[in-house]
Each structure stands twice: as C-alpha cells, then as structure tokens.
C-alpha cells in the first residue's frame, strides 16, 4: 500500500499530460488557421504564433470577392442541400421497402446497395468522364448531385434500414386497417418516425459531400460553377503569397462543419461513426 501513493500520483499526472498534449496537437492547426485569417500576411510571417494586432476582416473580403470563395461557398451549399434532400427521399423510400416488405429478393437488394460502400470513387471517374463526354454533358450540377446520391446511397440505405427494421409492426398494421395504402403509410407514418435516421444519415452525407474534392475536380471546369474544396485549391495556387487570404478561405471552408459539430456534437459523432459502430 505504501508504494501505491507515488504511483497513483504519477499516473494521474501522466493522464493529464497526455490529454493536454493531444488537445494542443489537435487544436493548434485549427486555431492557427482561424487566428491567422485575421492577421496580415506580414504579421503571420513575423510570428506565426502571435495574436493579430487588430482583428480585421480584410482577408475575408479578399477571399470572398477576389478569390471567388463567396461564389464557391454558395455553390457548395446548393449542391450539398439538393443532394441531401434527394437522398432523404430516394434513400428512405428504398429502405422502407427493404426493411418493411417481405419479398424474395429482399436480402439481395439490401446486399446490392450496401456492397456499394466498397466502390472507390476513383474507379468510376474515367468511365463516367467517357460516358458524359459522349453525351456532351459538361459542368452539370444535375449530374454532380445524382453522383453524390449514388455514392452516398449505400451508407444511407444502411442507416435507414437499420432504423426502420426496429419500428413496431402494430403501428403500420393499424394504419393499414384504417385503410392507408403503402404510400400513405410511408408518408404519414414511416417517414416522420424515421427522423433520427434522417438526421444521422444527413449529417454523414453533408460532411462527405461538402468535403468531396474528386468529383468536382474531374467533372466541373467552369470557374463559376466550382465548389469550395477545389476552389480553395485554385485560390491557394494563385494567391500562395497572400497567406492571410488563404487562411480566410480555409476558415470559410471549415466553418459550416465546425458550427454543425458545435451544435450537434453527439449527433455528428453518431453520424460519422454509423458505419463503424452498427456494422
């Protein structure tokens, strides 16, 4: 027992030293970016660790207007929003049938959708570029939205299916006895009850679509239609020497996710982990 005291004292401190180190490592790049976005480029070069002398928004004005980041930001918001809405309906409709109807091909249909998680995005861009070229489709948001839907569907169906299987049968049976058809059951009962699955899958989809670089890189070359991830890269390659502006542009690209995470911490974690924890 005598030996216990110094050991437990050490282990207690060790614990907090590790925590403090990890917090600094994880937080530094984010705080560095946000703080630098308010400094002039000269200030950043003079001392990357200092606070800004005056908190100015000049860098944001540069990034938003000169760097076209405002446009990219709104484009990405639109693309992500449309994809999310479509995914809610397309995904939940398919899952409703897979989870609640008994038919011969049911397990196969579920497997068919879920195995799409293994398709790497890289493996489809060349054939898609070929197909779209033959159809003379360029810079199409419709295609981009449908692409996002296609690649987010496997996980979306997986999440909805896992949730919908657990909805009590009695509710549905009562509705059918009341004369509701499948459509009415879906719209009035299943869809409203699936709110938690809608939130979880939409968060997962939002993060993935907002962050995606590969699809816009290959399928969008019109500057005015560009999205924030690729726009950010272009801004960086053109304005490399304007560190302040680049930092403001980066901050713009991370702010929506950070706000979402600050408000809905548990739900964002659950959404991102959906594939790993329930699988």
């Amino acid at each position: 027992m005598k030996q216990m005291k110094p050991r437990s004292f050490f282990s207690k401190n060790w614990f907090y030293i590790v925590f403090a180190a990890m917090v600094v490592i994880c937080l530094f790049p984010i705080v560095f970016t946000i703080v630098s976005s308010f400094k002039t480029t000269r200030e950043i070069f003079a001392n990357p660790f200092s606070l800004p002398k005056t908190w100015g928004f000049e860098n944001y004005a540069t990034a938003w207007k000169v760097g076209n980041m405002g446009r990219y930001f709104l484009n990405t918001l639109f693309l992500t929003g449309m994809s999310l809405v479509l995914l809610v309906f397309v995904g939940s409709m398919a899952s409703y049938v897979i989870a609640r109807f008994r038919f011969k091909l049911q397990p196969l249909v579920l497997l068919f959708f879920v195995s799409g998680m293994m398709i790497p995005m890289q493996s489809v861009i060349i054939p898609l570029a070929f197909n779209l070229g033959q159809l003379h489709v360029k810079n199409s948001y419709t295609v981009l939205i449908l692409l996002y839907v296609a690649f987010q569907l496997p996980m979306t169906v997986f999440i909805y299916n896992g949730f919908m299987v657990g909805i009590p049968r009695d509710l549905e049976e009562a509705a059918i006895i009341d004369g509701c058809g499948a459509k009415a059951v879906y719209f009035r009962l299943i869809l409203p009850l699936s709110k938690p699955a809608i939130v979880t899958s939409s968060i997962f989809n939002f993060i993935n679509i907002w962050n995606n670089l590969l699809f816009p890189l290959v399928f969008v070359n019109d500057k005015n239609k560009q999205v924030i991830s690729y726009g950010l890269l272009q801004f960086f390659s053109q304005w490399k020497s304007d560190y302040g502006g680049v930092m403001a542009a980066i901050t713009l690209s991370i702010v929506p996710s950070l706000i979402l995470y600050a408000i809905l911490q548990e739900k964002v974690e659950a959404g991102m982990m959906a594939g790993a924890l329930k699988g």
Binding site: Y16, P29, V124
Partner: protein, 295 residues
C-alpha cells in the same frame, strides 16, 4: 406485409429511383472501368476504344513509377495502422475513464475527422513549409533543434513521413471514438472482477480490455487499410506525388495518368488494381483476424 400484385408494384415504385441512380452512376461504371482497363482510348470523346487485352496491366507492372506507388502505398498503410490505432485506442481508453474534462478532450480530438481534407492538407502544407517562416521550422529553430529551415515535404527522405503525420492527424480521432464506444460498453463488473483478481494497469488492458474490443480493432484495421489504398486528396494536395515520386500512390497516379497525360487505358488499369486491392484486403483481413480470434 404479404406480397400481392399491388404491393409488388409498390415495391418497384419505391425502389426504382434509388436503383436507377445507383446502377447508372456507380454499378455500371465500375464494370465499365474493368473493360477500360483492357482497352486503349485517347480520351477524345467520339474516338474509338480498342481492345488490347492485358497490355495495360503488363505495362503498368513494368512501370517503375507504379511499383514505387505500390511500395509507397504499402508504407502509407503500415504507418497509418501503426500510428492511428495505438494513438486512437490509447486515447479512447483514457477517455473511457471519464475523468473531468474528458468530454471536451474527446470533442477536440474528433474535430479533425469532420474537416474537409482539402483544408487540413493545405494547413499542414503551410505548417511544414520549407521557408524559415514555416510554423514547424520556426518552432524547431527557436528551440534550437535545427540550424536552418528544412523542406519537410520537399526532401525525399521526409516527404512521405510528413504526409502520413498529417493524415494521422486527420484520422486518429475516428478510431479514438470507435475504441471509446467499445471500451465504454465493457460491463463494469468485469473490470472490477479483474481488479479483484489483481489485474492492474497493463495486465488489465491485455487480459480484459483488449479481448473485449477485438471486434472494433478489426473494423479500424480494415477501414485504415481500405482508406489507405484509396488515398487521394491529401497527397494530391500536399505533394502531388513528389518529390521525384517519393510520395506517389496509386490513387494520385491514376488521376495523373488519365486526366493529365490522357493515358485512359493505363489509368483505368490502375483504378482496377485499386478496386481489386480494396475488396481483397477487406475480405482477407476480416478472414485472417476472425481466424486468429477463434484460435
């Protein structure tokens, strides 16, 4: 619900939008890409595609840059496994003790996971910048650890390692959260019983904690392996495969061959290799690990 004729049409109606989008934009292209791997096409729409058999694959495996990319991909995978899993699982274990401040620490360490890779990669490119004003150089010089600025991402010897460090920063929080959830689910009675039996510290971890979270470790391992095989964003942004191919990986090489040099056949062949590796490794690692579990 029983299936009658009416519900059969309902099933189709509800499934159709998802099926159409998923099949035309994900399933068909993946099969097409296999066909492309065996063909030659110059990338000009309308020009014909000719079947060339295994030519692209033979050429690919003779190509020194592709061998280099495979080797880099291997080290990228191994180092990510070796760094992310111990770091993530150690943090998950410490967080599961639920001491004061744990929840905020967890939140901060998870935050990098949700950030756009483009943003994180650019920030790390600036942090590792070769200038004497780069953050890492400033820090190390002021501590007296290096004499002059170093090009962490430019030197052939350090480039891959520093991209991996950035990638670990982006990813370990995910595995921390997996392990936190798994360790939190271990019944308290089991941990207490182990302590009564005299299992403390490392022994408790080895005999009680590790066996109960094997399933999570498997999931993390498979996710890191498949994620590493597919890796694109971080390398494309931080080094574009340079310097001198030292950080080239199949994902970036595939993009370059197809969209920079218009070698679509060769690019497709690489994409087939990536796809096959992903499937083989998910199946293989799950098999191997469940086998070890039973033994």
């Amino acid at each position: 619900m029983k299936v009658n004729r009416r519900s059969r049409s309902t099933i189709l109606l509800f499934l159709l939008p998802a099926l159409i989008i998923y099949i035309t934009l994900a399933v068909v292209p993946i099969f097409e890409s296999i066909g492309f791997g065996f063909s030659d096409w110059n990338g000009i729409s309308g020009s014909p595609m000719t079947f060339v058999g295994f030519k692209n694959f033979v050429k690919l495996f003779k190509y020194p840059l592709f061998r280099k990319a495979l080797a880099n991909g291997f080290w990228f995978t191994v180092l990510n496994l070796v760094l992310q899993i111990p770091l993530g699982y150690m943090m998950g274990y410490l967080l599961a003790k639920r001491r004061r401040g744990s929840s905020i620490v967890k939140m901060i360490c998870f935050a990098p996971v949700i950030l756009p890779m483009t943003a994180s990669a650019l920030v790390f490119q600036m942090i590792f910048s070769a200038n004497d004003t780069g953050v890492l150089n400033t820090l190390l010089m002021s501590l007296g650890l290096i004499d002059g600025p170093k090009g962490w991402l430019i030197q052939q010897s350090t480039a891959l390692l520093f991209v991996i460090i950035a990638n670990v920063w982006c990813g370990f929080g995910y595995h921390m959260t997996i392990s936190y959830a798994a360790i939190s689910e271990i019944p308290v009675e089991i941990l207490e019983a182990a302590e009564l039996d005299g299992a403390k510290g490392m022994r408790k971890i080895k005999d009680v904690v590790l066996p109960s979270i094997m399933e999570s470790i498997k999931i993390s391992t498979v996710m890191i392996i498949t994620g590493s095989i597919k890796t694109f964003d971080i390398i494309f942004i931080m080094t574009e495969g340079g310097p001198n191919g030292m950080t080239q990986v199949p994902g970036v090489m595939m993009y370059n061959e197809a969209f920079k040099y218009n070698h679509y056949g060769l690019g497709s062949a690489i994409s087939v290799v990536i796809f096959v590796l992903c499937i083989v490794f998910s199946v293989l690692s799950l098999r191997l690990m469940s086998g070890r579990d039973e033994a």
